[in-house]
Amino acid sequence: MIDLDDILQYVPSQHGEHGVDSVIHRLCNKNNSMHESYCNPPGASWAEIRIKHPSGKLYHWDHIPRAPEKAKRPDSIIQYNENNEIHLLSIESKEKITDAYPDMNELLKNFFTGSKKFDGLFNRPAWHYNTANSTPSYIQNSKEQYWLKDYKQRFVYSGFAFSFEPEYYADISNFDDSKWNKMMVEKIKHIDLDIIIGVGWHGINHLPFTRIVANDKFAVTNFYKILNSTLLI
């Protein structure tokens, strides 16, 4: 027999951006009230974005450029539908908090709304859809392909996720909560983001932990409350 405690002690020498993306991806998929529309960790080349219509139909966009002009393809998109409202959180993740750049908020939102030289996702056709447990079908109707373009009740938020420095704490009591909280609050104001998520790891099995800071506007939404309760570990 093989002891799982031994297996759990097999840990990587570093976590970085991959670890951040893995934590967000795995946690968000554990909560059915949210939908992960997109996840593209470093090294991956997944180009399909799936947005859920409030009716339950899942629409697929593919063929999204890797590096659109004056826009940023996010590392993940988390969706929350509240009645007929569609809320989309576009997250860019990086290795360090200092990797956040000034126009991150604008570029992440431009990915949906577009820029001068890039038609954002909202202005592009969804080619396929599927309903629960059905295989995807091609969308014949051009109006349906562009349903999101004129959808009024859609909201886009921007987020930044990073790993703490150092990212690993043998003893989590050595993590300086107040220092990092201050840095995250400053960063969210400075860059005008809706949410910032910091990820670290601790203990012999390198268990992940998170810290989350949101701006006042996002913090009062139900989306944030669900997101916070899902991601805060």
Partner: protein, 504 residues
């Protein structure tokens, strides 16, 4: 929570999504016959516990997303070392009760889009590396894709399977007696293609290689746990996967940009033989035998080129190549560059075929054993040259700086060199750096012709004007994948830009 399991595995991958895809296969209990029990461990590196429905033993699968950088593997064991030159999407290893890892049990690649044109060669080295190391390789890709315009707003043309890649994997499977598999995913594009009367593999709607891949990979896991003879051999699963690969090959080997003249008339791809070819291959692999049948695609030799090959043609753009390469090398090998009767007659005479015929094309096709010959009617990537003496003169004229050792490699007057030279004119470099698809070209050609593309006979001529002048240093550095591929498979490299070369 279970604290102990009978068997433990690690799923290493490029990222968390790729690792999960392999677990998703196991989570189909009606096919895998593994029942998911629970998930434990850190959320970003979970361990999935399954019960084997056939034995009730417990199996654990620990996800290890991200290998690390090229020179910075983040795990204490480097699963790639000595086997893989490039990181596969996912690989699975077993851990013994001392915590030691086995060599990979299987490797998988997941592609949600078909690669266009020469991009399809990109993964060839991973399939070759897997086959050489005796590791089953699963390449999961859609049956058909679709091109879009640059802004993604309108549909252009279907994107088809590249038959050369499928042939390469079938030939590797046969040559190394280890499965190198393509697993076809269904997508809505199939219906659009079918409605538009675009070419699709026969019986594509019933393709079920994904289910067979789940069954076969589950078998490989059990085999690693219990030993080889514990269960029935998965002949129907493996046979089905190969059958679909042969059907895809048959559909696209005489199609569009390919026109693979040697393969399209191969016995293995005769409609009435396809099922037999697939079963022979699956039986050979499962029984660890290598019967020599006419259905083996890996057994293509130079005589097949001479009988069913065709005349070589390759384009070279003026702005990225030298006059010397185009006029003194390529033109001497390219048949289609000769427009007039006189040019064709002269070209044939260069290669020792004298004729007064008014139909030199027919004369050329009747003399394939004497002139440069290839495997593809359209633009081709490589050419077999039987008359090495003439070839030596061509190279000597174009690159007078090359020393006699290099010249003797091409043709040694003192030796009786009977085998042909397999010559690969390789672009190699774009202005921005080495060409990524070209990294896979040579392994891809090797997989199609493993008996021909030997180090003793294979020569590369890198012809891009963007080739770095310090190429020899890069070659010796052993870190650039383009050059390591050249070094692994070829015996001689000549670089047009510098007029120099090296034996490898």
């Amino acid at each position: 929570m279970n604290s102990q399991v009978n068997f433990c595995y690690r799923v290493y991958g490029d990222n968390i999504l790729e690792c999960e895809l392999l677990i998703d296969w196991l989570r189909q209990p009606t096919i895998s016959e593994f029942e998911f029990i629970e998930e434990i461990g850190p959320v970003d590196r979970p361990i999935f516990i399954f019960k084997d429905c056939l034995t009730t033993k417990l199996f654990a699968f620990q996800l290890c997303p991200f290998y690390g950088g090229t020179k910075n593997i983040i795990w204490s064991t480097n699963q790639l070392e000595g086997i893989f030159n490039e990181k596969p999407d996912v690989l699975l290893v077993q851990i013994n009760d001392k915590g030691q890892e086995s060599k990979p049990i299987l490797v998988a690649e997941f592609d949600d889009a078909l690669q266009a044109g020469n991009q399809s060669w990109q993964r060839a080295r991973r399939s070759v590396d897997s086959a050489k190391a005796g590791i089953p390789y699963f390449y999961v890709l859609p049956i058909i894709g679709w091109e879009r315009d640059s802004d993604g707003k309108s549909l252009k043309n279907p994107r088809y399977q590249n038959a050369g890649i499928t042939i390469g994997q079938l030939a590797l499977s046969s040559y190394y007696n280890i499965p190198s598999l393509q697993i076809y995913k269904h997508t809505p594009w199939e219906d659009i293609a079918a409605n538009g009367n675009h070419t699709l593999p026969k019986n594509f709607k019933n393709f079920s290689s994904l289910q067979s891949a789940i069954a076969y990979s589950s078998h490989l896991i059990r085999e690693s746990a219990y030993g080889e003879s514990s269960f029935l051999k998965p002949l129907s699963a493996l046979g089905n996967i190969f059958n679909e690969m042969f059907i895809v090959t048959k559909t696209y080997c005489d199609f569009s940009e390919t026109h693979l003249t040697i393969h399209r008339s191969h016995d293995a791809l005769d409609d009435k033989n396809i099922m037999t070819s697939a079963n022979h291959l699956a039986c050979n692999i499962l029984n660890k035998t290598q019967t020599h049948t006419k259905f083996r695609l890996d057994q293509i030799t130079e005589s097949d080129f001479f009988i069913r090959g065709t005349l070589f043609h390759k384009d070279a753009q003026k702005k990225t190549t030298t006059n010397n390469f185009r006029n003194n090398v390529l033109k001497k090998i390219n048949w289609k560059e000769n427009a007039s009767l006189q040019e064709k007659t002269n070209w044939l005479a260069t290669w020792g075929v004298r004729t007064n015929s008014s139909d030199p094309d027919s004369i050329a096709l009747q003399n394939l054993s004497k002139i440069p010959v290839t495997y593809k009617e359209n633009k081709s990537e490589a050419v077999l040259i039987s008359n090495r003496q003439v070839f030596r003169e061509i190279i000597k004229t174009a690159y007078p700086k090359l020393n006699s050792t290099i010249m003797d490699w091409i043709y040694d007057p003192k030796k009786n060199q009977k085998t042909s030279s397999f010559f690969i004119p390789l672009y190699g470099y774009k202005p921005s750096g080495d060409s990524r698809p070209d990294r896979g070209l040579i392994p891809s050609l090797f997989s199609m012709f493993p008996k021909i593309l030997t180090k003793q006979n294979t020569m590369v001529l890198m012809y891009s004007i963007h080739t770095p002048p310090n190429w020899e240093k890069i070659l010796q550095g052993n870190s650039n994948q383009l050059w390591t591929a050249i070094k692994e498979f070829c015996g001689l490299i000549i670089v047009d830009k510098t007029g120099t070369g090296a034996l490898l």
